[in-house]
Amino acid sequence: MYLTLIRHAWLQFSRAHYFGRSLGVKAIIAFMALIFLIYLYALGGSLPWLLLRFFPQKTAVDALFSLLLYIYAADLLTRYFAQKLPRQMIRAYLPLPLPRPKLARFILLRSWLSIYNLYLFALLLPFFVRTLYIPVSPQAFWLAMLGCFLLGGLNHAIVIWLKSWPGVAPRLILGGVLILAHVVPGALLFPQEYMQFSEALGQAFVNAHPLAFALPLLAIAALQWLSHKGLKRTFYDWAAEDARPARTAKGGMAGLLSRLPHYGHLWALEWKLITRNKRARSNFVQFPLMLPLLLYLLYAADRESVVGFTPLIMMFLGSYGLYHLQFAFSWESGFADFLATRKISTTAMIRARYYFYAAMAWAQFLLLMPFILWLNPGIISLAAGLVLFVTGPVFAMLLHTGVANSTRIDPNGRSFMNTEGVSGRLFITVILVFLSIVPVYVIAFLLPLPYLYGISLTTGGAGMAFVLGSRRWTRATALRFDRNKYHQLNKYRQSQW
């Protein structure tokens, strides 16, 4: 039966409407993924040399071991936001004579087939070959690899446990606690002791210390058992998804927004869209968890590191709009027909959306400003420049390309950077967003100003130009939306057919 379920998973993927579309873009994605793996592999090969430069008193292996927990803490954070639980239309299987425990076991087993369980090995494999397999022994190499696999497996088990838990609130709380449990001792309170423990753990792996393997293994087994229990309960939630009424409390934020003049009713609608759509709401409530990381990046950024940090800083400073604007039309699902058959100004709709998410990013920045001033006052002008840049050209780009995503095709199936449902256009847009910062950095480099002030000026200037010119480009985006409307609605009909 497991084989049949695996075949179904493949059929679900290969018969999806997006499979076979945009093959050119998908080839580029595959090529870039390959480049990324080669990059990691090359980095792994040169890592011994790099580590010896930064930790001259240690061997390369010990230096890496002292960073092992930091690497896996970052891995946990990545998985927490990006790794998904493979659900495979479970509702259709529940009334059939397939025992629930078996279905839960299948989902857990399938979840191990994930790129997140492999990517770090592209880095670690060449590193351990150079530092353990050749100079020490093949046994030491395999033990280190096994140890690292267990650490990755532990992260996998933690994330799957959190995501198989019924309800969102416990997931948020537990996820936050687990991440803080890494960050607080590791980065803030006891970094020395944290690194020493990390190094000792790596050495225990190489020395085949039974406890070093047994403890993560036991933890994985316990977490998988808990996930199995949680999943059996979560099946009820999945089966009842369409039965549960939406949260339609009157008043609150939507009520407040609807009382505002001019765009108020559209802002209220936007608020309802992001708080009543399951995926949008889930991402929206999880977003604040990223803010400590933003503060840390702003705190740690200096002249040397700021260029490398900027894409991440940009992502977080854009607030929820940076994630959502690409989907701004897809979320509408059923009411695209409503919009198409009524006299509603597309320009007003797009402007309302733009102002809504720009205001959200600025409100977030104003709330964080006291913390930024306290942690690293020198960075404030750059942070302001980047907020302007994100709410200017970046949001314009997302809205403009988002028009082409207004197909209403499976709004819940399309997910951010998910290889199962990734849209090629979306992927390219994400790359463009990150690359858009490059020209302003080059100009800043040429300016006769200190570099940080230079990039503050160029990002702020470019941002301001788009913010002030927003009436013009939102109108152009609206025209593009109207021109594409029939084409997009037709695409949706075809996907149904």
Binding site: H8, M89, R91, L94, L98, K232, Y236, A239, A243
Partner: protein, 240 residues
């Protein structure tokens, strides 16, 4: 033949009570129609009976065993609630074979059984290479109903089976249900908005309103006109 017993079953969504049935017994081999306006709790009752949602309190039992957290009833129960319960990326034939296999029916036997439903399924739902997702709502409905019937269940649960079907198919499904119920003694629970269809074929009608049973009629002893009178009363005055 299979019996059903519901005792003190309650389901809430937020502060709203979707279903609250103190007691309901379905006799083995009966064909029971569940009627009620939108939001009366018909689908919620079926979901609870099929262990798809958890009740706040109470018990639903099939053959004397609680359905909650159990799988025993799945081997002899055929059900179709809505298209969300179909595996959309399979073709109808693949889906029939998958469901049949889970019930221990051989491929050859499945083919033979499907022959009997070929007329009802028609060309598109019966033999095309389209996936279920690509079928019209009516054809999806046919696939769901046939998948539930072809396993020859001892208990059949169908939610609004006449929806989306063309008039000929509605007549066919009505005849099939009656025939199977009489010949095989299958216990059936069927909900519908179409009163005429249910009153014609059912030997018991249960009327739900806001999650509660308000009438439980057994024709010919009870006058089914009561049900129609109830809906007329609910309709109130015509709109201007």
């Amino acid at each position: 033949m299979v019996s059903i017993r519901i005792t003190g079953l309650k389901k809430n969504y937020g502060e709203q009570t979707a279903l609250h049935i103190d007691s309901l017994q379905i006799a083995p081999g009966s064909l029971t129609g569940i009627v009620g306006n939108n939001g009366a709790g018909k689908t919620t009752m079926f979901r609870l009976l099929l262990d798809l949602i958890r009740p706040e309190q109470g018990l639903a039992e099939i053959e004397g065993k609680a359905v909650k957290g159990s799988d025993h009833w799945k081997t002899f129960t055929g059900s179709y609630l809505d298209e969300g319960f179909l595996i959309g990326f399979l073709s109808p034939v693949e889906y029939f074979h998958f469901a049949a296999r889970l019930h221990g029916i051989s491929e050859k036997e499945t083919e033979e059984r499907l022959e009997a439903y070929a007329g009802f399924l028609g060309d598109e739902a019966g033999g095309s290479s389209k996936t279920i997702r690509q079928l019209s709502s009516g054809n999806k409905q046919k696939v769901g109903i046939v998948a539930a019937l072809m396993i020859r269940p001892a208990l059949l649960v169908l939610d609004e089976p006449f929806n989306y079907l063309d008039p000929s198919s509605q007549i066919m499904i009505r005849q099939m249900l009656q025939q199977i119920n009489h010949n095989k003694g299958t216990t059936m629970l069927v909900s519908s908005h179409n009163l005429n269809y249910l009153t014609d074929i059912c030997d018991r009608i249960v009327l739900l309103e806001k999650g509660k049973i308000v009438k439980d009629l057994t024709p010919p002893g009870d006058d089914l006109g009561e049900v129609e009178a109830y809906f007329r009363l609910q309709a109130g005055k015509p709109l201007p």
